[in-house]
Amino acid sequence: MTNIAFRLLLTFNATSLLLIVFFAQNKMDLGHFFPSCEWLAEVPKLISYLAYLSLPVLLTGVSIWLSSYLGSDEFKQGDVQSIEHANNSFLPSYLGYFFVAIGVSDWTTLWFVYVVLFAFTFLSQALYFNPLFLLFGYEFYNIKTKNGVVVFLISRHRYRKPDDVCIQEANRINNYTFIEKN
């Protein structure tokens, strides 16, 4: 149960940029959402958008903090057969979010597209690629273990060689995704 809640949070963080792009595209600032607060109308739009952005950034921070309560595994020296830096391979798919959001013009379309995207991201299991992790200094790696199992590792360390990967405690987000907190 807690695991599902955690994964919902990660999915929200990963997909929330779509909403932010939509709000920016349609010039919906904070004054638009809270018409009763008149002073909000005075606030520059850019500040509004940054405020929107701060929410998923904050939640991403929370999710990183929460991840230490997940089950853990270790990466022993020699466990890893090959390692591949995965930061860049996700950018194209992530850019897709932006183009979709720019193309969406009304609320109904937005919710429909968002729900579909949310469901697929949640169910895709393999990874919750969230570029906001990059802001926290995390890197993404595809790792193949000695017995040929491929896992996805999120870590602050800059790994280059398979032998570099030696982790005391890596938390398990799902069966394919691990995060090294320290």
Partner: protein, 277 residues
């Protein structure tokens, strides 16, 4: 880092799943493998002793998981619906594997009064009792499996019961036909008990390795200890067996389990023996 895993019944593709992270389930079993008893069906194990199977990874009944490098990351988490289908759990502790068989009796669903700050009732559903001692331990560095009951571990290591030997009706018949045995009218193959069948399986091997002279001396040896309970006909050189207990004594004799203490000259039977290396 120590983890706990489980084997799930009816999962063909991924039978092993991870149950707990970073937890040491069993207290470490510190045994000197050289003091463990190589498995023999009729051995009565001391309370603190373990049977052992050496070179375990070479055996056909070894599970594949123990043969390769174990990596916890390769195992998925246990799902809720798999809980009732666990057939055994194992805890990986410092490279060794501690096994516990999971039978329906280790699941509890009872009302429990729990004492904390104040007493409260707990409806325990879906709980599993962990025994204080594991049923088997695989000592990876020594490639040795230790266990206490073959019947318990035979559901974990399929085929390990090949270590168990019990004489078939045919073997029992052959043994009772030996030249030094005369059966009483009421006693036959069907009357031989299960423990004696185990002993017969072992005694047959002992007899096969004996010379004719040893066999003759064996009869005198047995008669020396059992002349009150077992009747030896001096003319035919046959012991008369009329009861299971008499057969047991005779089998002990074949295994040379009668001895006299060097100090005090007390005559004794060893109900379990072990070779001193």
């Amino acid at each position: 880092m120590n983890h706990v895993f489980a084997r799930v019944k009816s999962e063909r593709k991924k039978p092993f799943v991870k149950v707990l992270s970073n937890h040491t389930l069993f207290e470490a079993v510190n045994v000197d493998v050289s003091f463990c008893v190589p498995y023999v069906p009729d051995h009565n194990l001391d309370e603190d002793a373990w049977f052992k199977v050496e070179e375990f990874s070479q055996k056909v009944f070894c599970i594949d998981l123990l043969k390769s490098t174990f990596d916890s990351k390769e195992y998925e988490d246990l799902k809720k619906d798999q809980f009732q289908k666990i057939s055994y759990i194992f805890s990986v502790q410092g490279g060794d594997f501690y096994f516990q068989k999971v039978s329906p009796s280790v699941f509890i669903s009872k009302k429990i009064i729990a004492f904390g700050e104040i007493a409260k009732i707990e409806e325990s559903a879906g709980r599993m009792v962990v025994n204080s001692l594991p049923d088997a331990v695989y000592l990876k560095a020594k490639d040795t499996l230790i266990f206490r009951s073959l019947a318990t571990v035979s559901s974990i290591f399929k085929g390990i019961d090949e270590l168990y030997r019990e004489a078939t009706n045919e073997d029992v018949g052959n043994f009772l036909d030996e030249s030094f045995i005369a059966l009483d009218a009421g006693y036959g193959i069907q009357s031989v008990s299960k423990p004696n069948r185990k002993r017969i399986a072992l005694a047959m091997e002992t007899l096969d390795s004996m010379s004719d002279l040893d066999r003759q001396n064996m009869l005198t040896y047995i008669n020396g200890y059992c002349n009150e309970t077992l009747k030896l006909d001096p003319a035919t050189r046959k012991f008369t067996v009329s009861k299971d207990d008499e057969l047991k004594l005779l089998l002990y004799g074949v295994e040379q389990r009668f001895y006299t203490t060097p100090f005090g000259n007390e005559k004794r039977i060893a109900n379990s023996v072990m070779a001193i290396k």
